[in-house]
Amino acid sequence: MIGGLVQILAFQGLGELASKFLLPFIPGPVIGLVLLLSFLAARRTVPAGTRLVASALVQHLGLLFVPAAVGVVLFWPQLRSHALAVALALLVSVVLTIAVPALLLRAMSKRV
């Protein structure tokens, strides 16, 4: 388990370094993700420790963005004065974002 944690942290570190010095427009953790993905694809299997740590982290992903989301208290006045715009934008956009991929997939799988 510790081995898995070390591995994931090492890929995170590599990603941060690459983001700092090579690809500043991509967040470090995303580069780390792609590097780990390539590593797994080359290895063709997921080490047990890595799988254990990854599933613990991904399972509780929700917990990890609580501290940032509490920042809503800072934006409360702004959000309240634009409540209609925010609510409509989020609602309509999510409906369209579900509908469009579903329609595209349906149309394309009929033709094939």
């Binding site: 967040p27 993700l33 993905l37 989301a69 309509v92 469009v100 799988s109």
Partner: protein
């Protein structure tokens, strides 16, 4: 020791914010289970509401709270890297469907940004709010990194991402039925594109196949969004 002294001691260490964060999330998870995993009883939504009410009530500034809670926040980056494991395991599902899935992902991602930004602009929302809508359909840890890159508030982006996730999880069934998408892989993928992690866990609770495709969609949207959103935003957002 007087209660006052205990309080001063506790609020000076990161412990209070950590207990508050984990305790509120635990309460959120318990309520979610008790509500039969109803999407409206989202644990993140519950935890954030509890903590926001408490820190406002005890007059704790957000910066002070975050000083303690940053240990939890740090792990977001680690968890993003860890997403490689479920994505790797879902790669097999791509076989034979790569082209339609990528077209659907590109279409969904573009519609997500265009519709949200257009509506918010039309209704004259604050530019800070409009900017934070860009990455809202990308999974929250990646969305926050993207927000930093396009110079909008990561916090506001995270709030919109979580809200989008919940809305998608609640509404997906009705939208998908309305457009006549019947196959589980199509339903799951569409949900994953629109509402990332929260949509994915919803998809898994309905069908294993839908869940696999939803997590694939979430992962691919995350990678695509991290690369494409900052590039596209350069052209459409006045600096």
């Amino acid at each position: 020791m007087a209660i006052h002294e205990i309080w001063v001691y506790l609020s000076g260490s990161p412990l209070l914010a950590l207990i508050l964060t984990l305790g509120a999330y635990h309460a959120g998870v318990l309520s979610y289970e008790r509500a039969g995993r109803h999407p409206l009883a989202n644990p993140v939504l519950i935890a954030v509401s509890i903590i926001a009410l408490i820190i406002v009530a005890i007059d704790m500034p957000y910066a002070k709270y975050f000083e303690g809670a940053q240990f939890v926040h740090f792990l977001l980056g680690t968890a993003t890297v860890a997403l490689a494991v479920p994505i790797y395991e879902g790669l097999g599902a791509l076989r034979g469907r790569i082209v339609p899935l990528f077209v659907a992902l590109l279409g969904g991602g573009a519609v997500s940004i265009a519709s949200a930004v257009a509506i918010a602009r039309l209704l004259e929302a604050d530019p800070a709010i409009v900017g934070a809508l860009w990455a809202k359909s990308v999974t929250a840890p990646i969305a926050m990194g993207v927000a930093e890159r396009i110079h909008v508030s990561p916090t506001l982006t995270a709030v919109f991402a979580v809200t989008t996730g919940i809305l998608g999880a609640v509404l997906a069934r009705y939208v998908l039925d309305a457009v006549g998408a019947k196959a589980w892989w199509q339903r799951g993928f569409a949900l994953g594109v629109a509402s990332h992690g929260i949509g994915t866990s919803r998809a898994f609770s309905v069908s294993e196949e839908a869940g696999t495709y939803a997590s694939l969609a979430m992962g691919l949207h995350g990678i695509l969004g991290a690369v494409a959103i900052p590039l596209v935003a350069q052209f459409f957002r006045p600096a």
